[in-house]
């Protein structure tokens, strides 16, 4: 069922700051929908509006056909998993999970049965009598999820649920969360600033920046076909080119003039005309890097450059290659036993090649988004927050 949870022109201001600026989107029933963006982009504010902790200044929130804007938190069939868990320290694990049902005045037998079922779901039957202070961070996280799920919410809101955990545990919890979602089939709205988490768990992602949604799509759509320079740079890493269309070819390709490059072919999905300016995004792994010039092929772009920096990362190596004014990030996967080969090193002259279909034209471009890239430029030592 689509349009299960709908945000219609929701805005929220704090003083002069527009935390959320007329945002509209809808979440399908049963999916995991992520709000992904840097801190301060408004994703948590949206979540708090949905939970009822904040009232939007404008707009409506509709859940399952019912307008829930303005309802107090306890009258919404929505539950939240808080970033710091917010478990009740004076209650045991069992009592924490039973809190919601007690508030809803379920019968004692029903509460006992459901709490036991939840403890089983999060595999914490042995910890039921413990106090909150006596369990680990990952266990607290699971209790927080069980405490929310037991109320059978229509939507479960997760506010950076894994932010307080270390990396290994975060990856395990992500798998656990996915398993729990499959088991209960409740709609999840997942707020995070971690693109890895969002990509890994979501059915769809809304990439947010400065109170607005930049793009909504499946993880692959967001990654492969970013609409704006922000999405391209915030999610994964990329290279930006700016150029001008010098000719439109048949078969939906166009020829571009990019400063310092020979003619570049690109997939013309935006239907641009000769003379139009264009901003192109090209992911680092789309490049092929080699010492020998690659064989000519139709729709293959080839350019020569010099390797400036190399970072070996085991599974792959990151190169930064200078081509005229451009400093291109290139990822080289190591699909073969690396010690049998002579790896490309710093200072070498290399050939970069990529297919015209692998670049993506951006609808919106802002120069400042280049600051989001990994290692933007060696001369600029200033690291953005």
């Amino acid at each position: 069922m689509s349009d299960f949870l709908v945000f219609e022109g929701v805005s929220k201001h704090y003083g002069d700051i527009r935390a959320v600026d007329s945002v509209s989107f809808s979440v399908n029933k049963g999916e995991i929908f992520s709000l992904l963006g840097p801190s301060g982009c408004g994703k948590t504010t949206l979540l708090r509006c949905c939970a009822g902790f904040e009232d939007p200044d404008a707009g409506r929130i509709i859940l399952d056909g019912r307008d829930i804007t303005g309802l107090p938190p306890h009258e919404r069939k929505v539950n939240t998993v808080f970033q710091n868990y917010a478990l009740f320290p004076h209650l045991t694990i069992r009592e924490n999970i039973a809190f919601g049902p007690r508030m809803a005045r379920w019968t004692k037998g029903e509460i006992d049965k459901e709490v036991s079922r939840m403890l089983e779901l999060i595999q914490m039957e042995d910890y039921a009598g413990r106090k909150v202070t006596e369990i680990s961070g990952g266990q607290k996280q699971r209790v927080a999820i069980a405490r929310a799920l037991i109320n059978r919410p229509q939507v479960l809101l997760l506010d950076e649920p894994l932010a307080a955990l270390d990396l290994k545990l975060r990856q395990r919890m992500l798998v656990d969360l996915d398993a729990i979602h499959d088991e209960v089939g409740i709609t999840f709205v997942y707020v995070t600033h971690d693109q890895g988490e969002a990509m890994g768990i979501s059915d769809r992602i809304a990439a947010m920046n400065r109170g607005r949604i930049e793009q909504i799509g499946s993880p692959a759509e967001i990654y492969e076909a970013p609409r704006s320079s922000f999405v391209a740079a915030f999610i994964g890493d990329t290279n930006f080119f700016d150029g001008t269309v010098t000719g439109v070819l048949d078969g939906s390709y166009c020829r571009l003039k990019i400063e310092g490059f020979p003619d570049v072919l690109a997939w013309n999905d935006k239907g641009l005309q000769t003379g139009n300016a264009v901003h192109l995004s090209l992911r680092p792994e789309k490049f092929k890097i080699s010492r020998e010039k690659p064989d000519e092929a139709s729709s293959l772009n080839v350019v020569q450059g010099t390797v400036e920096d190399v970072i070996y990362l085991g599974s792959h190596t990151k190169y930064w290659v200078r081509v005229d004014d451009y400093r291109l990030g290139v990822n080289q996967q190591h699909r073969h036993y690396l010690l049998d080969t002579r790896p490309i090193i710093w200072g070498e002259t290399v050939w970069l090649s990529w297919f015209a279909d692998d670049s993506c034209m951006l609808e919106r471009y802002k120069a400042e988004d280049e600051n989001l890239l990994v290692l933007p430029d060696m001369e600029e030592e200033s690291v953005p927050e």
């Binding site: 939970a51 902790f53 306890h74 320290p89 809190f99 919601g100 508030m103 413990r130 106090k131």
Partner: protein, 293 residues
């Protein structure tokens, strides 16, 4: 084992000075008071030779039950009222923006800058038949011109509450300030109304502050004698007044000691039981944690 005994030694060194302080200025004097209760009195206000149980039998004074009962209910009611006022006050101060919070805290502390006796006399001026408060109440038809606002148990109650309210607000504030308010949001999210989130989550969360406030009001209130002496009448004497009277007027130290000992026991016994019950919980928790690891 050596590290354990070493740790014990360190603890002893650290707690030693305060223990001696308590021993010399608190425990020994209290024991002396208990001892004097079993001594005979001399006609000249001294303490006689030998031991006697006679003083204890003298406590069967027909006036005492009424005075003790009054002492207890005045203390209980003032404690309850102070807590009822202190919890919302502490909550509001803790939740106020930083600058307003400082101002509000200052307002709670300001009365301490004026001498205790002067503040009580000030109440006398306010409540006096010609006083400002009395006149204002009469003007607003809230009290009849003939009503006496001074020299009755309710005046004593009012001034006790006034005096000890800051002592209740401060510990409640201290606890409320440390309270994690996202827990209230969590409770609201899980279906608790504002009131139930307050009683089920906030109050247990600040329980230590409330307990401290309770002790800070109840114990001094039980022993108060200046307040009933100044704003109270003959019908509002408290046990503290009797102790003072036996000491300074009758010059009967054993009798005063016996009354004091009775008061001390009356406070200590329920207090110890509550404290032991209350503070035992964290120890059990720690044990549980140890077992878990």
């Amino acid at each position: 084992m050596t590290t354990l005994s070493k740790k014990k030694k360190h603890e002893g060194l650290i707690t030693g000075p305060s223990f001696f302080w308590l021993l010399i200025f608190f425990i020994i004097p209290t024991l002396i008071v208990f001892a004097i209760a079993f001594k005979p009195a001399t006609p000249f206000g001294g303490i006689g030779e030998g031991w006697t149980l006679g003083t204890l039998f003298d406590l069967r004074n027909p006036n005492y039950p009424a005075i003790i009962w009054r002492t207890v209910w005045l203390s209980l009611v003032s404690t309850v009222v102070c807590l009822l006022l202190a919890v919302p006050c502490g909550y509001c101060i803790a939740r106020a923006p930083k600058r307003l919070r400082d101002v509000l805290l200052l307002l709670v502390i300001v009365p301490f800058w004026t001498n205790f006796l002067i503040r009580i006399f000030a109440w006398k001026v306010l409540l006096h038949p010609e006083g400002m408060l009395k006149q204002a109440l009469v003007f607003l038809h809230l009290c009849s011109p003939d009503a006496t606002l001074l020299y009755n148990p309710f005046t004593v109650l009012l001034v006790i509450i006034y005096t000890y309210l800051p002592f209740a607000i401060l510990p409640v504030y201290a606890a409320a300030e440390k309270f994690d308010y996202s827990l209230i949001e969590a409770a609201r999210d899980l279906g608790a109304s504002q009131f139930r989130a307050f009683t089920r989550i906030f109050l247990p969360g600040i329980s230590r502050g409330v307990w401290t406030a309770l002790l800070m009001v109840f114990i001094p209130a039980l022993g108060s004698y200046v307040i009933p002496d100044i704003v109270g009448g003959p019908g509002s004497e408290m046990i503290g007044n009797k102790i003072a009277q036996r000491t300074f007027v009758d010059r009967n130290l054993p009798h005063a000691s016996a009354l004091s000992a009775l008061l001390t026991l009356a406070v200590m016994v329920p207090l110890m039981i509550t404290l032991v019950n209350h503070y035992r919980q964290p120890v059990v928790q720690r044990k549980g944690k140890g077992a878990a690891q």
